[in-house]
Symmetry: C2
Subunit: 151 residues, 2 copies
Amino acid sequence: MPTRYKGSAREVRALDTFVKLTRATETLGTQLQRHLASLEITPPQLAVLEALLHVGPMSQSELGRKLLRSNPNMTALLDNLERNKWIQRERSPEDRRVVVVSLTPEGRRVIERVFPAHAAHVTALLGGLSAEEQETLGTLCKKLGLSLSEG
Amino acid sequence: MPTRYKGSAREVRALDTFVKLTRATETLGTQLQRHLASLEITPPQLAVLEALLHVGPMSQSELGRKLLRSNPNMTALLDNLERNKWIQRERSPEDRRVVVVSLTPEGRRVIERVFPAHAAHVTALLGGLSAEEQETLGTLCKKLGLSLSEG
DNA sequence: TATTGTTATACTCTATAACTATA
DNA sequence: TATAGTTATAGAGTATAACAATA
C-alpha cells in the first residue's frame, strides 16, 4: 500500500485509487486468464476475436489502433490466430498495401462459444457487487477511459 | 462492446461493467508502462520492489503468493532483479530451503526514486475524475477485490 | 513424504530497426 | 516520399515437468 508515500493529498488519493483499481482488475484478470488458458486462447487473442466479431472485418492497422498494438505485434498475433485458422487475411483490392482481417467460420464458432462461458464467469466474479454498484463502477471507468484517450 | 450478446440482464450488466473496467485499466496501464519502460523497469519488477519496500523482506514463495506468480516465474523475475543488483537473496538460517528476498540499498534507492515519478504520473492520469469520484471508484474496487480473494 | 526453490524447455507477447510493396 | 505490413532480432514473462536440497 502506498500509505508511506509522503505526497500531496491529491497524490495520495490518486495512488490509493490506482492501487485499488489495478489490484481488483489484476485479480479479476488472473482468474479469467486461467479459464481462458483452459480454452487455449490468450487475452490478446480474445481481444482480436471480440473486435472482429463486434465491429466486423478491418485492416491490420485499424485493429492495432483499436487494441493499442504495434504493427509488428499485430503481425505476430495474427500469425498465431491464422495458424489456428480462426482469422483470415485478404489484400484489399482498392489498396493493395492493406490487409483486411476477418473471422473464419471456425473463428466465429470459437468466439461465439467462448464468449458465453466467459460471460458467465465474469458475471460470477462480479457478483460481490450489487447491480447499482456495478453500474456506478462502470460509469466511473467509462469517464476515466474517455479522459485518458482524450488527454 | 458486448451489446450484441444475448444474455440475461445480470450478464449484460456484468459484462458491460467488466469491459469498462478493463479498458480503463488497460489504457491507464499502457500509458504508465511507457513511462516505466523509459525508467528501464517492468510492471512485474515494480510490483516486486513495491512489495519489498512496503511489506519488507520475505521468502520467494511468499512473494509469489502475494503477486500470484508461480515459483519458476518468481525465480526468473528475481534473476532479472538480482542482475540489476536491486534485490538480494539469502538462505534462511532457520530453514535452509527458504530464500529470503530483500531490497539492496540500490534497489531501495531505485524504488524510492521511481515511486514519486510514478505517483505524479498516476495523479495526472486520474485527473479526469473528481476527488469524490476517485474515492467512490476506490471503494468499489476494494469491495470487488475483497470479494474476489474471498470467493 | 512434503516443501522450497532451480533448471530445462517452450511458447506468447512485445519492441525496435530494417526491409518490401504499394500509393 | 509516405503508408501498410513483414522480417529479423531480442528480451521479458509465463507455464509445466523434472529435479535437488532440506525438513
